[in-house]
Amino acid sequence: MFLSKENFWFVGLKGAFRTPTWRALFSSLAIVFVYYAFLYFLVTQYVDFNFQIPGFVVYMLGYVIAILFYFRLNNSYYRWNDGYKALTYLRANADTFSMKIRAYLEDYPEEILFLSSMMKNYARAMRDIVRDFQDAKGMIEPEKGMMKKFENVYHLPSRINTLLEERINSLRKADKLTLVQFWDLNRCIVRNSEHLSSAEALKGTPPPKTYVMHIRGFIISYMLMIPFGFIHEFEAWMLMFLLVFFYFYAGLEIVSDEVEDPFGFDADDLPVEPITVDLENRIESIIKT
């Protein structure tokens, strides 16, 4: 019990070499290494630099960089979290929608089937569109001949919502739904677009480029400058140290970069596919049991 994995912090380090930071930083590390090696060569063999950047400058800039990191990480994390929220709210909405159609349209099983398949289609369309494509073929056919209504559409989720709304409206006209039931179901359909557009906002608008570039420029110039803080005690050890620092500093930037666009196919991206599958299973279990 005491010797369990939980009580052994170093176990958490497994997988340390599987992260994207290594790949993304490899070339930058090589460049910084070459620069440091060149500087070392220069200092030990030829040039006698007689200036040394005082320690407090290096220290002070470190402060600023740390705060910038916090800001950047925080922003990226909350973007990631908001993406997750959009997906889970859509799932909640699909749940209530299916519960309601199951109760309200008890006597019309074909309508339940149609509406629930359309809800699944909406989730699929959202899954695809946040990953930058649309796939009309991947939709479920809710009724015979519906498939061609999904083809050649500019924005598939809107088309699905349109079809849903048309159907609810005609159900109301045919008096299969009462006025308040119609009202209630409409609320759910409206909420679909709300959650989709918050996901699309994350997808389509990365944080301003200038500010990301500024942080990167800051890190690089900082790393290039640091050796001059040690110039009188220049040792090969120190340079290896600095290389490791560089890995950790720039790595944080890479991590933020990974996290800030949460939809995609990377290991760190949101489990969009499993959530969609879960949503479909839940709809299925609600309308079948």
Binding site: Y77, R102, T178
Partner: protein
């Protein structure tokens, strides 16, 4: 000795009472082995340096303060997001509580006093929903906590894909049934169905908190950073402190890595540890409340 009475006669623990309870904290238990290993590492570095190699390798102290700031900020971020999730979980549970209480208050007004059957039905279904949500977040179901509101309803729970949704569906159906029967009016119906959406949002959001730890690349980067920091740590002290540096390295390790461990501890708040949310008692008090409101 570690407790005193304040102005209002409330028992409070003295600030340093933590010293007496220190050995019982979970962080210490989880970190003890690792701390000993780090202490051994510091000893090894010290020994090799002092007895064998005599390398004059001493990074300037501001290197450590520089790294320390960045690490400190990263750890703040770690605890902050973990706490944020913990607190969001707590807020969601409040939302679950007040939503169901509001439903009960409305039902109490809408349903006739004599309709004990439906009152009892809703009261049991509401408590079934919250209890099953609790257990489904912990990955199972405890049938003994649930009440059989209609015959046979609990018999096939283990075949269901999602149990809280099952109970919510039943509630939704019953509201619709009452509406169709003319027991409640259409506006009353709308007032009730509104809350079904809220509850469903709570369920889905709690599941989000449970299934999404902080992004892996971030947590592993932080761990690597901490590890590297601890590796170079002894070199800063050995020249000045000799073997005393073992203690200092262990202390710094505990302080810094402890935060990481706490972050891990609190980011999934729905378990049964001492640091998790009091979900059981929230469910129980909700059940009492709803029963009282619906007078069953």
């Amino acid at each position: 000795m570690s407790e005193y009475l304040d102005d209002r006669g409330k028992t409070k623990s003295v600030w340093f009472a933590v010293l007496f309870d220190f050995h019982r904290t979970k962080t210490l238990r989880r970190l003890l082995i690792s701390m000993l290993l780090v202490g051994f590492y510091a000893f090894l570095v010290d020994y090799l340096e002092a007895e064998l190699f005599h390398i004059d390798f001493k990074p300037p102290s501001y290197v450590y303060s520089m790294l320390g700031i960045v690490l400190g900020i990263l750890l703040v971020f770690r605890t902050n997001t973990a706490y944020d999730r913990w607190w969001e979980g707590r807020k969601l549970l409040s939302k679950l509580g007040y939503t169901w209480k509001n439903v009960a208050i409305k039902l109490n007004a809408f349903l006739p006093e004599s309709d004990v059957m439906h009152r009892r039905y809703f009261a049991t279904m509401i408590s079934n929903h919250s209890f099953s949500l609790k257990e489904s977040l912990r990955g199972g179901v405890i049938v003994e906590e649930l009440v059989e509101s209609e015959p046979g309803i609990l018999s096939k729970l283990d075949q269901l894909y999602h149990i809280p949704n099952f109970f919510l569906t039943k509630i939704c159906e019953k509201i619709n049934y009452l509406y169709k029967q003319g027991v409640i009016t259409d506006m009353q119906f709308l007032e009730l169905t509104k809350h079904v959406d809220d509850t469903s949002e709570v369920v889905s959001s709690c599941e989000r908190i449970r299934t999404s730890p902080i992004p892996f690349s971030y947590s592993i980067h932080l761990k690597k950073f901490l590890f590297a920091f601890v590796l170079i740590l002894p070199f800063g002290f050995i020249h000045d402190l000799g073997y005393w540096c073992i203690l200092i390295v262990m202390l710094i390790f505990y302080a810094m890595v402890g935060l990481d461990v706490i972050g891990e501890e609190i980011e999934d708040p729905f378990g049964q540890d001492e640091n998790d949310l009091p979900f059981d008692s929230i469910c129980k008090s909700l059940r009492k409340n709803v029963n009282e409101i619906l007078k069953v």
